[in-house]
Amino acid sequence: MLLIPCPWCGPREEAEFHYGGQAHVAYPEDPAALSDEEWARYLFFRDNPKGVFAERWSHSAGCRRWFNALRDTATNQIHGVYRVGEPRPVAS
């Protein structure tokens, strides 16, 4: 069980959260202009690093806000959380 620090509510157990995948995947400016391959890349292709990964979480059983977290995929250590709209912090 992870202890995830919601940027609004503070540390809560993992069961209160939903995972939202990779963060900072921007919606294409003009989706209609994309080729099928480019669209598929936007929809389905995600980074899969071993190490620090910026990802989205939703505190679904608490304040119901989406936020971003820097989690090490190898150790599960959470290096930081930040609210939507805040810049990605430098991982320590």
Binding site: G10, E13, A61, G62
Partner: protein
Amino acid sequence: MAERRSPAAAYAGRFEAASRGGALRLAELPFLTQIDVRVDPSSPAAGDIGDALGVPLPVEPGTAVRAGSGADEVTVAWLGPDEWLVVAPEGHRVELLRKGLGDRHGSIVDVSAQRTALLVTGPRARDLLAHGCALDLHPAVFGPGACAQTTLARAQVVLIPREDGFLLLVRSSFAAYLAEWLLDAAAEYVA
């Protein structure tokens, strides 16, 4: 008028029996008025809603304020950075809040039927909830003035601590489940 039945009405007798020992008091507070408020906390509308409530909307996460007394008593709990839950006695006038918001951006929704309120008080109230809640419920960190949305025995609840225990708001469809769980967990504290 149609007969109303609160979500945990069937448990009144068993709540009362579990309350007899003095270590715990379990009771449903049925038909409270509950109003969901959504508004930008920095907007003038938020200030006007606070005026209508008689207390400013709390902006610190995980806090709740109480104001007024008797029929005018309200508890305003922080649910999110732009969302609050107003809990008040039955019959509280939601129109006052609507007037406070006016036609500005925001929403005031009567959600009284969404959740019912269970009162868990007495010297063992905290021990009882600790059986199914991961939060530190000690009054030093979670006393009057705090509030939390979390899970109790896997059911989503809004927890509002009081001087003598906790007010627990649970979805109506989960009320029977949570009542059964509370009674089961209370067995060791009931004489």
